[in-house]
Every structure is written in C-alpha cells, then in structure tokens.
Symmetry: C2
Subunit: 432 residues, 2 copies
C-alpha cells in the first residue's frame, strides 16, 4: 500500500528531507554503494519495498541511479520518432585512452575510469571525427535505453527556437506574450524571446532544491514529476503553473538559471509552429540525424511535453545529434540545420551578465540560446542537465563527448572542474 | 484544474455513468461523429478542456478513439525491444477487395469499407501468404504507432506459458500457488496452471463494466488504469489486489472469462523464468519476428506489467507475430516457437465447458491457453481484446488479419458475427 501523505505540509517535508539528503555535498555515498545492480533495485516480483522506484521517489538517492534510464516506466511519455531510415553508422575505432590522466580538481590525478566512477557515470561515449573511440555503460544501463537528459533538454528547445528565428517564424525581439497571450500577466508578458533564450528575464522564481517554497517544486508538481499531495491547492498542469509566475525587477540585466524560462519557450514554439514540441523536434531534427532509437518526452497529465527537463535519448543518438552540430548542422551530406543557426549559438552572449550568477567554476562562460558557451580557444559549446548530463562539442578537436550520470548532487557544477579537465585531456590524447 | 472526486462513492459513480453510456448498445454514436481528427481531440496548446484525454477518462467515449493508439502518453510503460536487426519485409501485393460483400449480421450486405466504418475501425491489415494485400489506417493513427491490444494481450501470456510448459519450466498440472506462494490463500491457491490458462478456475470475481462493485474496477484501480479516488481504501498495486481475490465453488467445471486469471499467469511466468514479462516476451518472441517497432507494456505504479490487458504493438508487428504462428512458429527459416506449442493452442479445449459462458454468437468455440478456438474447418485461431482488437489466423487460407478498433461497446461480441463473415469473405476472395 502506498504511503499516503497526511497533507501538503507532510508531502513537502518528505520532499525537502529527500532533497536535502540528495543535495548535501558532505557525506556523499561512495559510488560503489549506489549501483542499482548490486542493490537489486527493482529486482523481484514484486521488488522489496525499499527497492521500489515509483514516480514519487525518482529524484531520491540511490533510486535516481536506476530511474534516470527508466523514466518511461514511471511516467507517461510522448514518442519522438527516429524516422524510417536505417541508423547512421558510427564506426568503432577504439582509441587507447587508458593512460590518459588529468586533474581531479582536488590536487590529484585520475584516469578516465576513475572519473566515471567518482562522478557516478551511467554511460560515456567519445566521438572523434565521427567515429566511436570510447563507449562504456554502467549500472545496468543498455545502449538501447533512453536516459533522462533533464536540463540538457533545454538546449534542444534553444536550438529549435534559434532555427525558427532564423526562418522568420519567430521574432527574437518580440515579447513572449505576443505568441502566448496567456502569459501576458506573467513574467514573460514584457520579456522578449531573446531574453528568455538567454535567461536574462527577471522572474519571481527560485530554483533551489533545498527550499520547499522554491518555485522549482511547484513546477515539478505541475509537471507531475513529483505527484502533488491530494490536498495540494496549486496548479496541476504545466500551462496552469506558468500562468501564475510573476515578473521581477528588470529584464535583460543579468543571467539567472531558470527552468521556467525554457517552458515559456516551449509554449512559444508550439504556437509559432502549430506543432507539438515532440512533432517539431522529430520532424526538424530527430528523424534527420540517423538516430537508431526513438527519443521521448515526459509529459504532464494533459500530454504537454516537459520542454525544460523532459527529453530522453540513447547515448549514441545524443552523440549523433552532437556530431551534426559539430559539422555545422550537416548530416550525411544534407543540412539538418543551417550553419548560421549553429554559428549563432556558438557566438555566445554577454559574459558580464553571466557573472551575476556567481558560478565561479564557470568563469568566462556565457549562456546563450539555452547553451553553455565556455568561450575557450577550441570554440567548444555545451549542454548540461541535472545529475551530470553532459554534451560537450569541441570543433577544434573534432570531438563530441556525451556523458550520462546520476550523481547525488543536482547541480552540474558538482563535477564541472573535473569534467572540463577530462574533456581537455581526451582532446589532447586524440590529437596526438 | 483536475476535477477532484469528493470521495469514493462519487468516483465510482462517475465511472459507472461513463461505462454505462459507453456500454449501451442502443443509441450508439454514429462512427463519423467520433473521429478524433474531426473532433480535434488533444489538439491545441492546451487542448480545450472537453477535448483533453487524461488517464482517468481513457475508457470513456469518444476519448477512447484517440487514447487507444496513444496509451503511452497517459500512463507509464515498459519497452519490449524489437531487437537490433533490420525489420522483416512485408511485401505489398495489393488485392482488389473492394467488390467483396458479406452479411452485416442484420440481414444486409456490406463491403470491407462499410465494415471498417460501422465497427469503429482504427486500422486493418490482411496478410496473404506473408504479403500485405490490404492495409488501412483511420482516425489519425500512424503505421508506427502502437495500439492498445487490451485483452488480446492475454494470448501472448498464454503463448509464453504454453512455451514454458513445453520446455518443462512450468508444470501445467501444478497449482499456481506452487510458483507464487503469495497466492496460496486466493482463488489460485488450489487452481492448476492449466485451469487458469483455460479460464475454468472458480473465482469470486465478476467482469461486468456495468456494475461498479464488479472486480474489474478494483483490478483497474490496482493497475492504475483508472486512478483511484484519493480516499479509495483498496489495493493500489496489481500484486496487492491479486492477493485479495477469493475462490468460488469448483475449479475446472466451466469457462468464465476473467482478466485476473491472466494476471496470475503473468506472475507465474515471472517466477518460473526469473524475468520480467517484458523481458521474457522480448527475448523469446518480439525480438525474433522481424518487428519494425518496439512494443510496450502498460505498468502499474511499481512497474509491474499489466499482463492481462497492457500490451501495445503496431499493426504490422502484430501481423508479423500472427504470420509466425501461421507458419507453425517459424520466422525467416528459424523456429521462434516449437510447432508443438502452436499445435497445442490450436487443439482447443472442451467445447462443453465453453458453453456455460452463454456466448451464443460463439457457439462451437472453446477457449484454450488464452486463445479463442472456433473449431472451424480452416483450423483458424483467434486473439481478441476490448473495443474490437482482433488477430485472426487462418492456416487453410494462408491468411492473417489484424484489426484494431475502438468501438463504444467493450465486449468483442459486439462485432463477432460481422467480423467472422468478413474474415470468411476475404479468405474466399483471396482463394480465387
């Protein structure tokens, strides 16, 4: 029998406790104690109660290590079709990366194997010139399983929005509410699409997993990624929640990371294209990159794609997506995306505005059109998601890295320094 | 905002009302008034409230016409992988069936087009000697979309059980509780696997969609296919519900159609194989028939496949499955299933015991190993599901027909006579 929360307070308390334990950077569980295969997570008919992953505890630890590659088993999903063609070959040309060493960020040196272990990696793939030079799966994940991209999903929304701006279907300088009149009284009533893309909107919203009053929880309730307690009085649909979010002081002044900005863009995309986000992504991108599997979106109770954090894809297909971008939008001799769209993303945004967010590990970065731009000499660009989802595209090194993880700290900052050191060391090794 | 039932009574009342209206054979809605494309079902961002399909109203009409080919968008699902090989070719050799006429069961004659319209057909495919001679989709359904098989799922469980009996992993004469000790105190404590396969168990359970006290509603609540009202005191997991079902008078005496029998078999299969039902179906069948798409199971809140009514597949893949059985278990020169397993199913069961169910339209049938056996001169065998899901395999005519429907009466008896007339007329036309 399912635990029945006695009320809203109890429900939020339970979430707060689980989030706090998941977020605490002290006393992190040793990775080897969290492997769902060893733990027997979801093993048995039925699994023992303390090994059951249900919708309400997906974000809790160590359940997350199983849940992030089984999301469709706990929530409704919408297919993003791979298309009818044969998958594009990814030739396997293994490179010997065992000897590669890099800084662990704490004064030590580690190997690629150590890095995967210490950052709770579920799967890792390195493409060099379009060939698979390294591919590895952990914690029982299979190559054909889709992994939750969490906020890495934002970069797909950003790409589609950039594409529709390029085509003239969306005006970046128009307000969001010009496309979505329902948002007229909200934070996005007078915010432009471009400000929303760059997350320089001023929104009365906090994304803090440690604070149960933070907007992210109302968002998760509305997305039904955390089922709200029966007596929860707030919105139970994404669109309903978006209508309640109020503006802050001044749009365009500073970058602040906000999941809800992307949700507004998802709504703009649907209204501007007349298509669901799943159909738009499928027609414009996913069916045109030689994907070997469908992707899928998690959806809210009325089938609205969770634009900001809801896309799931296989390791290889996300690598194919990255490879298409590394090739300035080309796949198999055909332009999936105009080169100008990729160039616009890589251009980045004002680094001064990024500084305001205080992400010291990411000094020199900007956030542009829902992508993380390091402004490094390789011209790399990145997409990132909760728990350690990483897409790193390095044009100079002709390299694409995809890393799926389920680390016990939600922010990707948790592994930022060691990830960057790893990316650089792998690029150097491949360049020799 | 979601309608919040004020209590259990209100919740059941709402379901009863919707079921009654869906079940009434008088005043059925004209098919053309129920097309989700015309109605704009789930169209818009968001769709208008009266066009929203949510988990709680999937079985209501006309939502069912959209829902049955979009089940993954309202409920969690488990992948049944198609395997990594290229799909098996189904050559298209269109036969001219436009002139075929047959009895409509009411003294008139109709065409194949009329038949599809009047039986609320979503998709229809006819294979002759392994070639597609007819294929048609309606109500917006796409060839790549999986359709809910509802109780047609039972025949896959029956096939797997027959297979494991043939291999010696399950003893048909053993009691169900020998494999599932948790069922010792239930109807299946002293029922044999074979009695459960043939649905001659005596179970204190009623499958009547018109009666809100009928066991089928507790089952649907436990499967979370109808979300139970917040104050519902009954089981909210399939396994928990199965533990509450008590026995009736005498096992083995008479056939009575019971969804719960198949659920017990699903549990037996998992315990006997050590695999989830999805994995078992995938490894033994779905990845070995040249499927072009994954199938999927709907699952309960702890990931248990809804064995009895939860499988979803594309039209062509269910046809490939039927074609493999028509060929005595062979696909592409390889035995997927031993011929003896197919022969055992086709043998049928005691027709005298079937009579007890009073299905006059199916006089002469028996129900064996979860398949419907007409005992006709063509040696045909059939699988059927709620709302008009049909798999008809006719070895003598070298023909397989798959029909997906979403008719407003739950029982497949609704269209039994006209379906049989259509199958026979198509077989005759192909044989000329």
């Amino acid at each position: 029998m399912r635990m029945k929360p006695s009320g809203l307070a109890a429900g939020l308390l339970a979430i707060l406790l689980s989030s706090t334990s998941a977020m605490s950077q002290s006393a992190l569980p040793p990775p080897e104690t969290t492997d769902p295969v060893t733990l027997g997570t979801m093993v048995g008919f039925p699994p023992p109660p303390d090994r059951q992953v249900v919708l309400g505890n997906v974000l809790q630890y160590p359940n997350a290590r199983w849940a992030y590659h089984h999301m469709r088993e706990v929530a409704p999903t919408k297919q993003v079709y791979r298309g009818g063609d044969a998958p594009a070959d990814l030739n396997e040309r293994a490179a010997d990366l065992d000897a590669v060493r890099f800084s662990d960020g704490n004064g030590g040196e580690i190997s690629i194997a150590d890095w995967q272990r210490s950052t709770y990696t579920d799967a890792l793939l390195v493409l060099h010139r379009g060939n698979i030079v390294y591919e590895n799966y952990h914690v029982g994940m299979l190559p054909r399983q889709q992994h939750s991209l969490w906020s890495l999903s934002k970069s797909l929304v950003g790409l589609l929005t950039t594409l529709l701006i390029e085509e003239g279907a969306i005006d970046g300088d128009a307000t969001v509410s010009q496309y979505v009149p329902e948002l007229a009284g909200t934070a996005w009533g007078d915010a432009t699409v471009q400000q929303t893309l760059d997350m320089t909107t001023a929104v009365d919203y906090k994304e803090d997993f440690r604070d149960p009053k933070s907007g992210i929880f109302q968002y998760l309730f509305a997305a039904n990624l955390i089922p709200p307690p029966p007596d929860y009085p707030g919105p139970r649909r994404l669109y309903d929640y978006m209508g309640t979010v109020r503006g802050g002081s001044e749009h365009g002044a500073a970058f602040a990371y906000k999941t809800v900005d992307t949700e507004a863009l998802g709504w703009v995309l649907r209204r501007a294209s007349g298509q669901s986000l799943a159909t738009l992504l499928e027609e414009r991108i996913w069916s045109r990159i030689g994907a070997e599997a469908d992707g899928y979106y998690l959806v809210d109770p009325i089938g609205t794609e969770i634009a900001s954090i809801g896309f799931n894809a296989t390791l290889r297909d996300l690598a194919r997506f990255g490879e298409m971008l590394r090739n300035d939008g080309m796949h198999d001799g055909r332009a999936v995306i105009p080169a100008s769209v990729v160039a616009e993303i890589r251009r980045g945004a004002d680094r001064g505005k990024f500084k305001a967010a205080g992400q010291e590990a990411r000094a020199g970065y900007s956030y542009h059109n829902q992508w993380w731009i390091p402004h490094d000499e390789d011209g790399s660009f990145e997409a990132k998601g909760l728990g350690g989802q990483q897409l790193h595209i390095n044009p100079a090194a002709e390299m694409v890295i995809v890393k799926f993880s389920s680390h016990p700290v939600s922010e990707t900052l948790f592994t930022h320094r060691v990830d960057r050191a790893a990316f650089a060391a792998i690029a150097a090794a491949l360049g020799q």
